[in-house]
Symmetry: C2
């Protein structure tokens, strides 16, 4: 498990995602101020290339330099505002979801064993080696 | 610009991405220890549903509870290891890339104006109001 590589790839994905969020924010602003340009920006961004934020910005720089700079400014603002909150938020997300899945699972097996006690015992004996040899 | 909403959505995407990384790590481990299960896990994870990590885990819990728990454990480990490094890494990524794009742009317009001085002057006069009225 190469943790350093995972961190590197994750931060790249994060930068791409914040670029996408910047484009979304600017598209919404343009819908109010310049609907034609909003449509152009949606079109330019909808072909899946925004999946890679850096390739997208490179292309945008060739196509519309002013828009590229605007996206760069907004994503820089976004990363300053949200980055510090992310570690705690994502840790919470994962831990809460994990606890929830374990709870759901426990509820399910508890229900199973109270509703169908015989079938449950049978399944266990069939599918797994008996962990306690003294019982067999 | 709803910063709180952006932070919330970003941390959700992050949790999904770490789930995907956990699956990748486990698939690689299984290639060594249990190739058949590695193939099964790749197949289960390749239909695009891993884009939403929580929906993916819900489905995995129904399908293969032991595997779901293993993924939950690995993603929990990953988030503990990488989360704290992410703010600085993603800020650096974005700032360095932005500086690089601005440098590229400056190099391009500097080349343009040294190679085609007349055309460049013409373009400027055509497209923008002159910022310094005393020059006109």
């Amino acid at each position: 498990m190469d943790i350093k590589q995972v961190a590197k790839e994750t931060s790249k994905v994060l930068a791409s995602y914040l670029t996408y969020q910047a484009v979304r924010i600017i598209t919404n602003q343009l819908r109010e101020t310049n609907p034609g340009q909003a449509i152009w920006l949606s079109g330019f961004s909808s072909t899946g290339k925004i999946q890679d934020g850096e390739a997208y910005l490179q292309e945008m720089l060739q196509e519309n330099q002013e828009m590229a700079f605007r996206i760069m400014t907004v994503r820089d603002h976004l990363v300053q505002e949200v980055a510090d909150y992310l570690p705690e938020m994502v840790r919470d997300n994962i831990q809460k979801a994990n606890i929830d899945y374990r709870r759901q699972y426990l509820e399910r097996i508890t229900q199973l064993s109270s509703v169908e006690p015989n079938r449950e015992t049978e399944l266990q004996t069939d599918s797994e080696p008996n962990p306690d040899p003294s019982v067999s």
